[in-house]
């Protein structure tokens, strides 16, 4: 029988609780090694450009997967989540991605694209970003529905 380390804590010699200040945890369920992410204040990221530092995969509407490749320049226009903080990004094609902030590097001023290139990349994705409209907690898109509706394919009929 394992020796209990004390009282109601349930601690045993082979099972030691996390300690205060511990930065990294291992999930008993998923085995995932997890550490805390933090997000900066919104004005450091909203309406700013950033670079994806790891390929991002997402299920495509209607099956399959789509990839936002490493090195892609994106435009950030929203933030969500605290445990897994994510930035809402638009890529150069105007597609919406929510990307964990650990996979995003903000573009420093000196690293920014040339004015001409930046304008070109941002032309498609900044059209409705001067004023934000929300239905509940969800961004309203240019057609009046959710922003994601702009590229939405219905699940049953597979049409836009």
């Amino acid at each position: 029988m394992e020796k209990k380390l004390g009282g109601k804590t349930g601690l045993k010699e082979t099972k030691v609780a996390p300690v205060k200040g511990q930065k990294e945890f291992v999930s008993d369920v998923t085995g995932e090694v997890w550490k805390k992410d933090s997000i900066t204040q919104w004005y450091n990221v909203i309406n700013k450009q950033a670079i994806i530092n790891e390929d991002q995969e997402s299920k495509a509407k209607g099956g399959g997967t789509k990839t936002l490749p490493k090195g892609s320049v994106v435009f950030i226009d929203d933030i969500r989540g605290r445990i897994n903080p994510q930035y809402r990004c638009k890529d150069s094609s105007g597609n919406i991605w929510f990307v964990r902030n650990r996979f995003i590097d903000m573009i420093e001023e000196k690293q920014r694209l040339s004015r001409e290139d930046a304008d070109k990349a941002a032309e498609k994705i900044q059209t409705d970003n001067e004023k934000f409209n929300y239905r509940g907690g969800v961004r309203v898109g240019k057609y009046g529905g959710d922003a994601a509706d702009d590229n939405f394919e219905h699940r049953s009929i597979g049409e836009k």
Binding site: V19, G21, F25, V29, Y43, I79, R80, I83, V138
Partner: protein, 429 residues
Amino acid sequence: MANSHDLIFQNALEGNKYDVTPDKNMRNTTIKDEKDRQNWLKNYKPHVYEKMQAFPEKIANGESIAIIQFQYDYLCNMDCEHCCIDKFYVPRDWEKASGRRKFEMEDVRRLSNEADKMGLANFVITGGEPLIMRDFDELVEAIDPSKFYLVTDSNGWNLDLKRAKHLKQIGIDKVQLSLDGITAHDHDTFRRKPGSFDRTMKAIDACKEAELHVILSTVIWKDRIYTDEWREFLEFAKEKEVGTYIVYAKPVGAFEEIGIDSMMTEKEGAILQKFEEEYDIFTHMTPSYGRDIGCIAVKRMVPISRYGDVMPCPYQHVSLGNFFEEGLKPIIDRGLNIKWFDPKKNMPCICGVDKGFIDNVIDKTYGDSEVPVRYDRVFTEDDFVKNDNMGTVEKGSGTGREVETWKHAPLITLKGKKLKDHDFVNDAI
């Protein structure tokens, strides 16, 4: 259920803010069993008692008897790995800058009035962590405890004896404490908060000492049910004489990636039912009001987000409509008109075990989806019982193909007792 709540209201009614005329006799009432609890409700919250009495009839009429699960704020002091609501959180500074409309106290009062008019009798304050809300007391007052059986969720971190007594005084009827492991290691790792286990232990004792009704809430996934830890957990709850509400792990939120292999199956559900015979545990699927209504989405539960979105259940991040744009009743009626939530059908826990529903509906809320996803992006005309009250869902959408799951779902039937004999208030609280 067996609870020891002797002399539960002797001190708590003193100085109560919300009910200025409680039955004087109730001051000396002792709660020895559930019959006493019913008597208490009848005398202390007669309006709530009356509404609950009408529940069986409302179920029979296909109406909702939903608990309002009110996600007033998503702030939290923990980082639980199974958090289902993380995607709804928006940093305060950005929330303000972005102009999202959120609940103000006036909106809460309107919600409370509309729910009351619909005959709904239960309110659960959730989050985030409710007990870190600065305006928690004001929120309770706005909901109006005289109109509802009022419950708050909590992780117990900020719940000492003084707070427990205060909660009782302002009108909280029950605290649902989260406990996700019987050892500090299991709980603290799962909650990613060293010290949280000890705080929860103290919170249980504080609630019992303050004679505030307390139950535990724990998440179960496929593997956990076979562990010694699970048995130890149940023994612990039994020893403490607290009931345990068991939440099935769902592949949503921060737990999105656990995959279907980690989820409960019918086999584990059957094992859990066996445990129910031995321990004071229950799930959202436990029969109530004399009927086994199966999945409680919309019928017995509607979460409302901080931003006004009304959802079918806490794990289906689909908005049936927004409270700020429509009233509560039209939104709930629309939900009941969707076949998955048909009040006449006894569905399984559709987002917990129904792969068809997960593929067709829950899948649309995964990954880089903006949540909650609006209902017209998920449901088609095929999903509706009647082709009216569909909101913005277009007529003619869909393929006309029926979804097998709800097509073959059994009708809800009376279980065992006659409705008039059923212990409906006990079920409700």
